[in-house]
């Protein structure tokens, strides 16, 4: 029997292409990337838009372009190590990031335990956030994907998958922390700490009726967002016109932030749909919950996929809404060429995902308080055009 087994294995090894299973001593290398360019039209010169504020009135490649590589290695048949590094632009600077570095243990057929630096399981697309190939857009709906900027944390998680006759159900529990992360607000980067991070999600994948995911994440948030402004108020109403002043815009000391996401995806090869609703609440920030959602539908015609998306962000009375029209071309099974047009509008003096700097925020607040000095908060609108290519290998 042993001899037969060895002979069989030898035959298999001789015939095999590079092994992809992670048995002991085996490794797997994968990569992904996006080369994309985007442009904002319709707003005033220099106005920027986006999760990191890189979309403006010049054609720029740093908002959408990103590259990543991932290496997995089998230490034993059940214990593995995975690292993933990415290169992407943060605000105006390209940075290399170690997004993932973890040990994984396949405890049994259904349970996987992981420890190290992991992707934070916030949104439906959180764990493949940088892999443009994994979603239909070039630009993930900013209304939803600007809500939590945290992409990874240090901790542990457990992924439990049960096969069903009509699909599978996956339960994921995560715990850890993320200290000294960057938070983009008012055109600047600030330090932010997420302590006692806890997340849970359940995902039901069916063979015929799509995938439903419900996720919840909470953390104790500590940050101090300040802005340097030039005062427009004379003494005694302020420090005096033209005097530089540092103002605290948001100070949180271990306030609990809670984030819920409900997502649904469907793809039968012809029709495709992707939808997500999220709600973010930070205790003690004096604000109501911020709700956002998007609804997307498309149909494949051969290698072409035209699609349409509506997205909305509701933040304490302000609203941003957008329509996106896109056309994707599946050039090869691993390369997709994408083009998108997105029309964005805000109302009730809301900046939405447009960047308002500290000085503008201050002048808007002064007007709101005095009705005389300062400038009233206004609405924003823009036409965003994006073109690019997503690939994986």
């Amino acid at each position: 029997m042993t001899a037969l087994r060895v002979a069989g294995l030898a035959a298999v090894c001789l015939a095999a292409t590079p092994a992809f299973a992670l048995e002991q001593g085996e490794h797997r290398f994968n990569g992904f990337g996006t080369v994309g360019f985007t442009h904002l039209g319709g707003e005033d010169d220099g106005r920027s838009y986006g999760i990191q504020g890189q979309t403006n009135d010049s054609w720029r490649g740093d908002q959408l372009s990103k590259f990543g590589a991932q290496l997995s290695y089998g230490i034993t048949d059940t214990l593995g190590v995975t690292v993933q590094a990415t290169a992407k632009a943060q605000q105006d600077e390209w940075k290399a990031n170690l997004e993932w570095a973890y040990l994984s243990l396949q405890a049994n057929d259904q349970l996987m335990l992981r420890a190290g630096r992991l992707r934070s399981p916030v949104y439906m697309y959180s764990e493949s956030l940088d892999v443009g190939y994994s979603y239909p857009w070039l630009r993930l709906p900013d209304e939803v994907y600007s809500q939590v900027q945290l992409t990874n944390y240090e901790g542990i998680d457990a992924v439990y998958t049960v096969p069903l006759s009509y699909g599978s159900v996956t339960l994921q529990l995560a715990g850890g922390q993320a200290k000294n992360r960057d938070y983009y607000a008012y055109d600047e980067q600030f330090d932010i700490d997420y302590g006692n991070l806890f997340g849970a999600s359940i995902s039901l994948a069916t063979n015929d009726f799509g995938t439903l995911r419900i996720g919840y994440v909470e953390a104790d948030i500590k940050t101090d967002i300040t802005g340097n402004v030039i005062s427009i108020l004379p003494v005694p109403f302020g420090p005096g016109i033209g005097v530089a002043e540092q103002r605290s815009l948001l100070a949180l000391d271990k306030s609990k932030g809670k984030f819920t996401s409900i997502g649904y995806q469907y793809d039968n090869g012809t029709w495709i749909s992707s939808n997500e609703w999220t709600s973010r609440l930070i205790e003690n920030d004096g604000m109501e919950a911020i709700d956002s959602f998007y609804l997307m539908g498309g149909r494949r015609f051969g290698d072409l996929l035209p699609h349409v998306t509506y997205a909305q962000l509701d933040d304490n009375g302000g609203r941003q809404s957008s329509w996106t029209l896109g056309l994707n071309y599946q050039a090869t099974p691993t390369v997709v060429v994408k083009g998108e047009y997105k029309r964005v509008d805000t109302k009730n003096g809301f900046d939405g995902v447009f960047t308002r700097n500290a000085q503008e925020l201050y002048e808007n607040e002064v007007f709101e308080r005095t009705g005389m000095a300062g400038t009233p908060a206004r609405n924003y609108d823009g036409d965003i055009v994006s073109v690019g290519v997503d690939f994986v290998f």
């Binding site: 087994r5 095999a16 599978s168």
Partner: protein, 134 residues
């Protein structure tokens, strides 16, 4: 066109027709402990059910196309996209793959918990056919 070339082309065409008409057989080891249903096989080959070792084929062959279309309703792009989703979320690795039908038969014959799919013409007495797909 030379006569010999014409014969070769004819042979190639006959070969293609044969391939297109061939059935795909899902095979297990004769000593397999269980006989998974078609939906179990889908779960095994999509990495959701690890109770048996799925043996994949490396190249995109007509047998592979017919197997994935019939069992998982996925074409090549959808399958690539599905595995990218698992690889880059750290939730799974594609199954080990071997070069051709003969290698699948050899591996399934050698391991009691292995399961594979081959063109039905490649099936021999060392493996058991679970079911066939047109």
């Amino acid at each position: 066109m030379k006569a010999s070339t014409r014969i070769l082309c004819g042979a190639a065409l006959v070969g293609m027709v044969t391939l297109a008409q061939a059935e795909v057989a899902v095979i297990v080891n004769p000593a397999a402990a269980k006989a998974p249903s078609q939906s179990d096989v889908a779960n095994i080959f999509l990495g959701k059910d690890k109770s048996m070792k799925g043996v994949d084929q490396a190249g995109w062959t007509p047998a592979k196309e017919a197997f994935y279309a019939g069992v998982t309703s996925k074409n090549e792009s959808q399958l690539k996209s599905y595995w990218s989703g698992l690889i880059f979320t750290g939730k799974g690795q594609p199954l080990p793959s071997v070069a051709d039908d003969a290698a699948v038969v050899a591996k399934v014959a050698a391991e009691a918990d292995a399961i594979g799919y081959v063109d039905s013409s490649a099936v021999n007495g060392s493996v058991k056919v679970l079911f066939t797909l047109p």
